[in-house]
């Protein structure tokens, strides 16, 4: 018996591959790390659910900043990244991307309570807070701008180091008229906590978010299995459950905007 056990142990450890997985550290509720090192949020929980399903892999989840995430993924330091990524041609070119999305991203506008801004068109001539450089939100707005050149918006970009809480205060104070951004980053909590006279509009965009996997022969199998796992998790309602837990609603209820 002893003998047998040790043999199975060996084969098991040979087969289980440890995967370096990264997720953003400071994007509550999407994904964040507590001071004692716990990694929480929608994305980490989805990762854990996938990990449970995959027999031959073990995920080592780490929280690192976004530019480090993609740099490390490209050089092979990391194998798998999550972080509310939008699918883009460039990403598909550089990385393996499972067909099945791992989540939804809702983009809303945050405006003063008495504001009549409801759609992107209403932003013409308004003061919009700077967008996080190259973020998905900006891309969405730029795409819209391209289709609607007659409504010229005044768009600015910045590094995104100024936190959303601060941005919402700037709406409240009148410095800016609108803040456009992903709705999964705790805006509701901030508004409530600080008693801001700010409201969120209906989503102006609903998109799918994806996983990114380092391109290498070794990982071809991994992509397949992750894809399969995601499909199952989606179907059995696990993803919706996780969403309820962190966002207070099922993000999968929204139709993806074309």
């Amino acid at each position: 018996a002893c003998n047998e056990e040790s043999v199975t142990d060996e084969t098991a450890s040979e087969e289980v591959r440890t995967i370096q997985v990264t997720t953003p550290p400071t994007s509550k509720n999407l994904s964040w790390q507590t001071p004692d090192g716990e990694i929480l949020g929608y994305e980490p929980d989805v990762l854990r659910a996938i990990d449970e399903k995959l027999e031959g892999y073990e995920f080592n989840i780490q929280a690192v900043a976004d530019s480090a995430q993609e740099t490390g993924l490209k050089t092979g330091k990391y194998e798998l990244n999550v972080g509310g990524f939008y699918p883009t041609p460039e990403r598909k070119e550089q990385y393996y991307v499972p067909e099945e999305p791992n989540g939804r991203s809702l983009i809303k506008m945050y405006v003063r309570e008495d504001s009549d801004i409801e759609t992107l068109e209403d932003l013409v001539g308004k003061n919009i807070t700077p967008f996080t450089a190259g973020g998905g939100t900006l891309q969405v707005v730029l795409d819209w701008q391209e289709e609607n050149p007659e409504h010229k918006l005044d768009l600015e970009e910045s590094s995104g180091d100024i936190p959303y809480a601060q941005r919402l205060k700037e709406i409240d104070s009148g410095k800016y008229d609108a803040f456009v951004g992903p709705a999964n980053l705790g805006q509701n909590e901030v508004i409530e906590e600080l008693g801001l006279k700010v409201r969120g509009t209906d989503p102006i965009y609903v998109g799918e978010t994806i996983l990114l996997i380092h391109k290498s022969e070794e990982n071809e199998q991994l992509v397949e299995e992750v894809n399969q796992a995601l499909k199952e998790l989606r179907e059995d309602g696990t993803l919706s459950e996780i969403s309820e837990e962190y966002y207070g609603e099922d993000i999968f209820q929204y139709e993806v905007t074309k």
């Binding site: 001071p35 530019s67 330091k77 936190p163 600080l194």
Partner: protein
Amino acid sequence: MDAPNTLEIISLLLEVAHVSLIILVVSAVLGLLLGSLLTMINVKDIPVLKQFTVVISSFTRSVPIIIQLFLVYYALPPILANFGIDASNLSATVAAILALTLYHGGYLTEVLRAAYKAVDKGQHEAADSFGYTPTKKFFRIILPQVVPVALPGWGNALIHLIHDTSLVFALGVADIMGRAELIAAASFGMNQVTVFITVAIIYIIFTFLSDGMVRLFEKKTRKYKLDSGLNARGM
């Protein structure tokens, strides 16, 4: 978790102060050694090697630290792998120390070189005339006169280093700045101002200590009364 109050923020930040301190102290020491070595090569005008130091120091001084951190942590292991060196286990902390050492060393090269050149030629002549070996001359005569001139620049370099250690969070190292970001994120950035000001105060204390150390050395070297400077005679 409830949003922590200021006292809790301070204690949370201080919990990881040792991480920042270790990175800081190790790269300060190694950087000083590297800087001294590069300076030596530079002032001795050793061919080829000198060109090499110019390249190193211009690169490490100019490229944003974050890119240097990425280079060491992400790009170095695959490059080394081509030469059969396995560095895939390079930890983020070690990578951070390596990058900061290179940066600090490159910076110090300029400080030390200038201070070295400020020493009067007659001092070299006098030591040479007695048959001091180059090493003896350096340690007994030249270095003590280089130090007072180099101290303020060294102080600057240390402060830059202190601030740049805060970037290692990008690699996932949990230093003070990293912890601060996490605390701020936990409250959706609502307490970011408090957290940032607390961090600033901790850094001010670090620089205060660092500058204090530099001042202490300055006091020690002031006894040489090298007779230079605007108020050499206290006027």
